[in-house]
Amino acid sequence: MDLRDLYQDIILDHGRHPRNFRPLPGASHFAHGHNPLCGDKVTIFVRVEDGRVADVSFEGKGCAISIASASLMTEVMQDKTVAEAQALFAHFHGKVTGAEGAGVSASSVSGLPADLLEEGDRLEPLAGVRSYPARVKCATLAWHTFDAAVGGMAGGGPLKTE
């Protein structure tokens, strides 16, 4: 395994200069995420309007992987419907765990709608994580926290405030 597969330039860049790294005044949803094994913390803020992610941002402390993953997530999630966000989470989850379909149905992975394929590709740099099982939790922390914030997105439940 080449470390460069994990620490691609885009990851290092997002790790060092995270996008949407700020509180979100007027957020309709937010959640705190925490990895008890390493103490890393993240807060995700979301403003949902008309069933769409009108804005999403984050704050926190963590490793390059978790910060980059959060940063990339805030980019791809902008303006998505809940169903789209759900599809992206499933896609991302399959990508980083390698076990496509673990806890997420395989069809939702393969079946990323055509208009999301570009967003899906933007997450490709995170795929290197799958070779580093100890780091998968770093990559997924922000996503699970987003999920918690908007209320069981993966389960398709209704949006709710934490």
Binding site: M1, L3, R4, L6, Y7, L12, R16, L37, C38, G39, D40, K41, K61, G62, C63, A64, I65, S66, Y132, A134, R135, C138
Partner: protein, 424 residues
């Protein structure tokens, strides 16, 4: 039992000199099985020498049976070996008597035993328990839970900015309401050696009992519980080259005798009727059910191993290697070492500017360098230091300067990967 102990050749402590970690390392099969491994996580758990692994296996092959209750020869032999292991632990800690040694799963269980059996019997609302900012969660959470249950107050003794326990501040915290001081002997994040002799004197002068957490001390220092004068001392076998699942609680006989039982079950009772049960004396009273017999025997083998190297020599080795590592790491640009007070042994925590400890650990792993990254079960200390995590390297009897060199090279590789120094 004493006959079993005496079979070991008596080596006078003074005749044991320094040892060569490269030779010692050959006794650890893990290095042959994982060629190139640079193992710098001994503070989390130590690797096992062949004498422990093989001795354990041989016990199961030749002498295994349940203890304490069998009339037949195999059981008598197994019981003798188990009780000889208790004698061995007592001797290693210089306890006054083997009955002061209770076998537990590890330090965590030992501390919980004291909290749950001694606590409710001797504490009342308004009493205070003092811990330090240096503690491992295992020496915080059991006391917190006890405090909630009993209405007792948890008081925290601070460290100074250099990472040392602030003895003056500690002394000021002691009041007539202080009933127990629970403190680490060697801090697991920093390697700092706490002046526990002074802590015991001050606490006893205030009328408080003292529990010392010897998890990081027993693998690295000669420990003499009578000289320390502490009331309780706990450690884990897996950190001193022994098997997992075993450790010991030492408690002064008078303290142990005054404690009610903790868990109920076989082997800790005298008589049982549905109406009433009477209990055995210590240490049996605190060991309900079939104990980890093989674990205890393996622990004794590990202590034999340490004694053969010489605990003084181990201490010297670890202190010297720690000094060397601190010097080598601080010479690197962008590296900051977490303060450990005046003296540290076996452990060094550090940060690298611009590289999170988790990323360091992953990068190091690609160089076969195994370190720990995280809060090291000491979140309150991390909060005090203003950190969420550190990278920690820790040493054992098999560690040497080549390991430190590999560590330094790995730090530089990480810095290069993250573009923090020019790649050449």
């Amino acid at each position: 039992m004493s006959a079993l102990l005496q079979e070991r050749p008596a080596v006078a402590p003074s005749t044991r000199g320094a040892f060569d970690p490269k030779v010692v390392r050959q006794q650890f099969p893990v290095f042959a099985r994982n060629p190139g491994l640079v193992f710098l996580d001994t503070a989390a758990s130590a690797q096992k020498p062949a004498c422990v692994i093989d001795g354990l296996a041989d016990y199961y092959r030749a002498d295994y049976a349940n203890v304490h209750r069998g009339v037949y020869g195999l059981s008598a032999r197994s019981t003798a070996r188990f009780e000889a292991a208790r004698d061995r632990v007592a001797q290693f800690l210089n306890a006054a008597d083997a009955s002061e040694i209770v076998f537990v799963r590890g330090a965590t269980e030992g501390i919980n035993l004291v909290a749950q059996a001694w606590g409710p019997a001797f504490l009342k609302p308004g009493d205070q328990i003092v811990v330090s900012e240096l503690e491992h969660h295992s020496n915080i959470v059991p006391w917190q839970m006890l405090c909630h249950r009993l209405g007792v107050e948890l008081v925290v003794a601070p460290i100074d900015d250099g990472g040392a326990l602030d003895l003056a501040a500690f002394a000021r915290l002691l009041t007539p309401r202080t009933r127990l001081v629970a403190m680490t002997h060697v801090a697991n994040v920093t390697g700092g050696l706490v002046p526990v002799e002074r802590v015991v004197q001050l606490a006893h002068a205030a009328g408080a009992k003292v529990l010392l957490d010897g998890c990081q001390a027993v693998p690295r220092l000669p420990v003499d519980v009578q000289a320390l004068g502490c009331d309780f001392y706990v450690f884990s076998g897996h950190k001193c080259y022994g098997p997992t699942g075993i450790g010991a609680l030492y408690a002064r006989r008078a303290v142990l005798d005054a404690m009610p039982p903790w868990q109920g079950g076989g082997d800790m009772i005298r008589t049982v009727t549905f109406a009433e049960t009477t209990y055995q004396d210590a240490p049996q009273r605190f060991q309900a059910g079939t104990p980890d017999i093989a674990g205890a025997i393996g622990l004794a083998l590990a202590l034999d191993f340490m004694d053969d190297l010489g605990v003084d020599a181990i201490r010297e080795h670890e202190a010297a290697l720690t000094r060397h590592a601190r010097a080598a790491l601080s010479a690197l640009p962008g590296v900051t070492i977490v303060g450990a007070g005046a003296e540290s042994v076996g452990v060094v925590s550090f940060e690298v500017d611009g590289v999170h400890p988790h990323d360091l650990a992953t990068i190091f792993d690609q160089h076969d360098v195994a370190i720990r990254a995280g809060h090291h079960c000491a979140q309150p200390l991390m909060d005090r230091l203003g950190l969420v995590a550190t990278a920690r390297a820790s040493f054992g009897v098999y560690s040497d300067e080549d390991d430190v060199a590999a560590l330094v090279a790995a730090v530089r590789a990480a810095q290069r990967l993250f573009g923090l120094v020019s790649a050449r």
